[in-house]
């Protein structure tokens, strides 16, 4: 079983890698989704598996023998939520980046971050005062 799962996890990581290395922001986000899934599988796999293992719900006796280790699911739950939240933020930002630069190819984005660095405090304050906010989209 662990060889099988190692194979699956390897494929998922490999596929995720392939996706994040492609020149498309949406694909990148999906690649991270694959990573997240692969990691979750990895975590559940390390909990161990036998055909007889039960779910981690203890009976009235409160004993835990023969049940699945509950810690990996706990870790997964936290990790899944965090990666989901990060992914949502990343996706929103990717959308914003596309609107700004009209490309979703990260390789085509401007390299020099100072080229359109408007937040230089001085500039920003001036524009703030004037009521218009620094939007340099077509600068």
């Amino acid at each position: 079983m662990n060889l099988l799962m190692a194979l699956v996890i390897g494929v998922l990581y490999g596929a995720g890698t392939y996706m994040i290395l492609r020149p498309s922001l949406v694909r990148m986000v999906m690649g991270f989704g694959l990573y997240s899934n692969a990691t979750n599988l990895l975590l559940i796999v390390i909990g161990g598996w036998t055909a007889e293992t039960g779910a981690p719900f203890v009976g009235d006796d409160g004993r835990g023998h023969g049940l699945m280790d509950p810690l990996p699911p706990d870790i997964i739950l936290t990790a899944i939520v965090i990666s989901f939240a990060t992914g949502a933020l990343l996706l929103t930002i990717c959308y914003r980046v596309y609107l700004d630069h009209e490309t979703d190819n990260p390789e085509l984005l401007p390299v020099d971050e100072s080229a359109d660095l408007p937040h230089l405090m001085v500039t920003a304050q001036r524009e703030d005062r004037a009521g218009i906010v620094a939007d340099d989209r077509h600068a």
Binding site: Y18, M19, P56, Y98
Partner: protein
Amino acid sequence: MMLSPTASLPTLVFIPFVGAFLALCMGRIAGHKTGYLMVLSALASFILAAMLYAGLDPAAPVVCAAEWLPGVDVNFRLRGDGFGLFFALLVSGIGTLVGIYSLSYVHLSDNRRVARYYAALIAFMGAMLGLALADDLVLLFVFWEITSITSFLLIGFWYDQEIGRKGALMALQVTVGGGLAMMAGFVVIGAITGSYSISELAADPSLREKLVAAGMLTPALLLCLGGALTKSAQMPFHFWLPKAMVAPTPVSTYLHAATMVMAGVFLVGRLLPILGDSPAWTPILTTVGLVTFFLGAYQSLREFDLKAILAYATVSTLGLLMMLYGLKAADQDVLQIWSHGAYKGTLFLVAGIVEHATHTRDLRKLGGLRKVMPITFGVCLLGAISMSGLPPFFGFLAKEAFYAQLLHGEVLHGQPVLQWTIIVLSVLANAFIFAVACKLVFGVFFGPPAEDVDAVDHHAHEAGIGLWGPAAVLGLVALGMGLAYPITSQMVNGMSSDPHAHVHVSLIPHDIGPVAMSAVTVLLGIGIYLMRRPINRLQDALAIIPPMYKFWDWLMAGITAVSVTFSRQWQNGSLRWYFSGVLLFACVLVTAALNRADFLRHDIIVKPHDLYWPAVAISGMLIFAALILVRAQVRLTAALASTAIGFLVALLFVIYRSPDILLTQLLIETVSTIFILLVLFFMPRFSRDVVAPPVRLVRLIVSILVGFTMATMVFLCTLPELRTEDNLGLGYLERSLSEGFGRNAVNVIIVDMRAIDTTGEITVLVVVGMAVFGLLRTRRHKA
């Protein structure tokens, strides 16, 4: 109020720092009067040093020690021995004169700038005093670097001019670069011997034996020389000194003629008893010193800028001193330093006066000032004669002693070829110096002024006593010390770094050798002076090698070019490259670690009974779905394949009996799909992969490597032999109901046992919500 000797040591070091601080604070109001702080603090230090010298017991010098950084064996230890006090007297004495000179010399409208100038100058003096008296290598280094910093600020006095900035930067970089090596050398010494105390190291042979035993004697020497040779402007690191001449003349006089450049020499003197046993000592120092001595003098004749001439002459003398230490003739170090300080100080100050009066330093434009500036002329003569080594001046004493050392020195004994090489070159160098002295005196004060400089006729005037006074004092020292040679002899022998020094210092020769060499020197010098124009042409013809500073510039430009390439290529903004780098790094690290044990001997056998066939089927579907995603050219296909993968993973969670994450996964995948669809609306279609085939190949290789590495790790870590059964799982289960009041152990862990994890997780959620809100709202408001 009388200070005890122990207390006056640190006091004389700290007075200037207090003065510098005061100068900074009051400068804005006091303006040029800040200079009096310089004079006062220098004078105070001088008096204290003189008092200490008066009470000096050579066998047991005053020591002031305090714990500073006991954790790293570094202590605040000052020691007032003869050599240190000599240096302190030199520094504070010339400091007083330079302070007085500056009062008349420095005129600026910007009070703050003047204040900064004096503050740096006073702080420099303090650092030099500390350096002279420090008995701890690290403390010495601290003061050493403070002199570098203050020197940097002083050279950059004309910081609104490119040339001023460049000169300052070069001086800083070269001297600090050497200083770093020196620090490493000190650390080596301290780490191996366990002591940084100079006197202790010099006195205790067992400490030095440790260095020898560790084989670190020569490396430590080489590292330390890195500092000494750069600071003292030895070839090939001499080039910063002429460039530093952009500084105001008081600075050049004080730092770059009399004191700071002597710090390297001083250090070598301090190190001689510690590292002198190294077989590299004599060859290196003698060679470097000799070359510098000769080439400095040689180059000096080539120059026409007054300060450049003096700078190269200084370089030359510094070489001479290094050579003397190389020959282990430490007994005449004070003699040479002192005589040089006196005449070179005089000449620099005179150069400043001349520049002040004529607004030029170019010998070719100067001339005939004898009549306009008679006092200056007189003072200049004092310095120049001493420099040329004619009796009865101090310079003569020094040169005689030097020649005597060459003829009778122990180190050269029995090596006639080497000895004669050194003698010939030395005589030649001194002849050049002689010619330079002539050139100075005749070039500035005799002959007609150049036609295009009307300054000479119209504006040139005799300087005030504030300017020539200090120069005259130094010049008189050069004369007086020569005349009073018995006292001189006593003093220079008493203050030498060699406790057993007994150099014969006398105007009356007792040995024909040195006198003959002096005669040859003078004759040669006259000859060179007379032939100076053809010699200059010859020098121009011989100058094939570019000046050293160009090499330095090239070196820095080369480093910058590498840097440009590196930052463009490495930090190229390409996410693809960043990801690949991180991933490959991970693969390499993990593989390297795995290679350290032979994991292959664990049998990799698929045990069919261990496989759960639905898991096999689901895994197959999962891999298939992953391939769909990877191959998808249409965005919606990719989004749906992602969702399918999520569902399939959820199904594996069923196999692994984890209902909580099953539900979570299903919901999360659905919500993710909705997000993706929401965003896809705005995004462009997937473009065809337009990357070049090599990029594709690399991408494929990286993917396979990552997949393989992760699979290997998972496989190994879940192998029954390697996975641990002794984990926390059972403990959690058993505590779930009894202490957590819940049957769902996972949930009990989430909300109770490890609730702080969950707290972080929900914080992330909240912040993401706010961040998305902020991001989209900010831009929508702008639109």
